[in-house]
Symmetry: C2
Amino acid sequence: MSKHALEEASDNGATDLEDLIGYNLKRAYIIVQSGFRDAQGEGGFSPRVFTALALTVKFPNITQSALARKMGIERSGLVAIVDELESKALLARARVPGDRRVQALVPTEAGQQAYDAAMASVRAHEQDVFSNMSESEKKTLLDLLRKVRKNEVS
Amino acid sequence: MSKHALEEASDNGATDLEDLIGYNLKRAYIIVQSGFRDAQGEGGFSPRVFTALALTVKFPNITQSALARKMGIERSGLVAIVDELESKALLARARVPGDRRVQALVPTEAGQQAYDAAMASVRAHEQDVFSNMSESEKKTLLDLLRKVRKNEVS
DNA sequence: TATTGTTATACTCTATAACTATA
DNA sequence: TATAGTTATAGAGTATAACAATA
């Protein structure tokens, strides 16, 4: 141990909240989510509803259980989300021949358009909230966040 | 516009959820927070209680209003958090001579020790959840997350 | 027996509004 | 008038457990 006494306190990493990745991740996420809601405005999509619509557009005919799994939530929690999107006629629950238990989720034309518009607004919001970062820095952040996800044990 | 037609769809950035920083931020945060709770175990600190204790240790005699501001929550929401920490005798609400409205939060000896132990466990958890990343990558991620926070408008 | 969608229910986190006691 | 702490209340978001229909 050749370090000075004053340095010993942080020998093994963070002793301060501000040095924790998790803490900074939370604070950054709160900022981005809050901006997302502002960008969507009154009657706009909440993050989870936007995610559900986006995945339905990307994977048409996905079942509710599969969508819940992809979103990382319980399938019971998805019911209200799909109800909301169906009530706005942005997607439909379609019967599947061959397995009468499942409901295939299919985006409507209006759903596709609403998704495109919402995505444009989200992109504009991200331009704004990350406006102090270069394209290269944003790419690095994206890659590192993906790497965190990739290491998930579950 | 010299790009191929197939590339035009993503000319201005993300068209896919997976290309949004916000979405990846959320997913990464859920993983880290969930691991935090597992690491703390039964009867352990929730993220927000840990944060409140950490800030009280760092800034002894901070008022409840100031702590709430630092945490980014309403002061009404802090009451239950401080109640919990006080009921476990980890901090005390102290009267302040000169202004009888305020309550200065002071960590107890047990609070300091509980904080040290919890922080050690959080550090171990972060070693684990970011085990596929180099020290350099973790440092970069931390710096970029701080940069996001630094750009906050509000 | 297992799975899909659903309902009922409860818990956590947070916000808003109003109250009190002070300043 | 304004601020600190508090209470009451409501709204998201999520989870668990149970159920009917179907496999």
